[in-house]
Amino acid sequence: MKNLLKNELTKTLNYSSFKVIMTLHFMLFILVIIVASRIDIAVPGFSMRNLFRFPDVWATFAWIASWFNMLLAIMIIVLVGNEFSFHTFRQQVINGLSIEDLIIGKGIVIFFIALYGVLLVFLSGAVSGIIFSHDFEFADLFSKSYLLAVYFIQAVGYMIIGMLIAVIFRNNSLSIIMFLLYFIFIEPIIRKFFSPEVRQFFPVKIISHLTPPPEVLTIASKKTIEGAAGGSNFDFEAIGLMPHQLPLLTTLLVAAGFISLFVFLIFQVMRRRDL
């Protein structure tokens, strides 16, 4: 296990595309929160500043970080796809790893990338909270910090989907295209054939809804929309203008179910096909 970890570190940390994509991820995230912290739209009753104060900052930053989960998933697709195109999965089996070891090795990488994401959100959230909060009532500081754990599961979910696609297609460009198509077209189109209640249980929908936009924002935008629509009783959630809000625990459980299913499928695909 220790050697498995060391090998994954050697392979990943010395890979220049990894360094570039992760630097990009870090810089984009920091850039977005810096820019966002400077915007102050006057919303009646709310200050945008609240989003950067404890404890809302955890929700805000987890949500912003989730925008870049696609990047992390593509990183995993590339790392797994490389093992196929370099024939190194094959060679590692020849040298004495099992198929399960190969999958666990990439699982370790996914774990560490998700951990990095959480640390990024935690540290930047802490800095932002300290800068923007007025009073530090300790009890309230971390009341929404469970969202860090939720973000962790979400990041893992994106990367597991990426890995599943990578072990099916075994080709970087094809896998990346299929991954993007699935997220942007395939699943949304399939969802249209189902009732709104069923729609929200699709994997991409469920996993991306783990970190919903902060309440302040949704309430504010709902007000804006309702104001524009003249206060009608129109169901904005049904027409997709507003996200559905399943209880977090339900979302979390369904997402965990999907992640387990995908991990199971990864093992099945890898075990059934020749390397």
Binding site: L4, N7, T10, N14, Y15, F86, V93, N95, G96
Partner: protein, 295 residues
């Protein structure tokens, strides 16, 4: 003798094509077993199955008498098909990865890079190597940890004459250490020079299997001439030392029986009062023999 590898009725298909068809053989400890066959005869497929990369359709195999698994594979140094390494990593880092999989101390890396003459390139990226050097690195990783069993697929692939000679030297010195070596090759000469046993594959089937000296070099041909070839031929026919005697031009060609020493022929005919003007032992072209076997 202790059986290192034993294969029973192994078959592997690629779609409708039978790459390996009902293959059975065993490799005993301390032997150098050559798997010989033309391109596409199933050599690499066989090695890929026994090194755990491909799953057989039917049949089974055992390493060291055990059901195959990763712990068995860690004890075997294998080069299958082509050198597979991370192109962006240095030779040393690539070897570190192999060493960690095989639970071999990293100190051994310098030793094997020394044997394969790659020490000077230790910190070069793998993708900067020439084809021959990549092949040498693959050999270095095979030797890592001084395994008891080596599996080599076309080990001389892409090497220059000097490199081929070095590979041969390495194989011979490993053999001298009592290692068991399995080599797949389409080059008869290579197999003949280093192997003790050989199995010949054609269309995935084993068509011959046995000791190299029995299978590949049984038919030595002797070419003789004397003053009176006709009389010589008659005398030799009665000797029981030779067969297939033929008089051609001004020489007699014959096949020496496996156990016969050419010196005996000379002694025999001298005793009968002949003076040979020519006595030459020829090995038949191995290629022609190989072609005869696979035809």
């Amino acid at each position: 003798m202790e059986e290192i590898l034993s294969i029973q009725n192994l078959s592997k298909n690629y779609g409708k094509i039978k790459a390996v068809d009902d293959l059975s053989f065993t490799v005993e400890k301390g032997t150098v077993y050559g798997i010989l066959g033309p391109n596409g005869s199933g050599k690499t497929t066989t090695l890929a199955v026994i090194t755990g990369v491909l799953r057989p359709v039917s049949g089974s195999y055992q390493w060291f008498g055990n059901k195959p698994g990763k712990w068995e594979r860690k004890k075997i140094g294998s080069l299958v098909e082509i050198p597979n390494f991370y192109p962006y990593l240095t030779l040393f880092r690539n070897m570190q990865i192999v060493a960690r999989i095989k639970n071999v101390p990293e100190e051994d890396i310098n030793r094997v890079l020394g044997i394969t003459d790659l020490l000077r390139r230790k910190h070069s990226r793998f993708d900067t190597l020439s084809l021959g050097m990549k092949q040498r690195l693959a050999l270095a990783s095979v030797l890592l940890g001084d395994p008891e069993v080596l599996v080599l697929d076309e080990p001389a692939n892409g090497l220059d004459p000097e490199g081929i000679a070095e590979v041969r030297k390495i194989i011979k010195s490993e053999r001298a250490k009592g290692k068991t070596i399995i080599i797949a090759s389409h080059i008869l000469d290579e197999v003949e020079k280093v192997c003790t046993h050989v199995g010949i594959l054609k269309w995935g089937k084993l068509i011959a299997n046995g000791r190299v000296d029995e299978l590949l070099t049984t038919d030595r041909i002797v070419v003789m001439s004397a003053q009176d070839n006709k009389k010589l031929k008659e005398t030799l026919e009665k000797s029981g030392l030779l067969k297939n005697l033929k008089e051609e031009d001004d020489t007699i060609t014959a096949t020496i029986l496996p156990k016969t020493d050419p010196g005996e022929i000379n002694k025999y005919v001298t005793g009968k009062g002949f003076t040979l003007t020519r006595l030459e032992v020829k090995k038949p072209s191995l290629e022609s023999q190989f072609l005869k076997l696979v035809r």
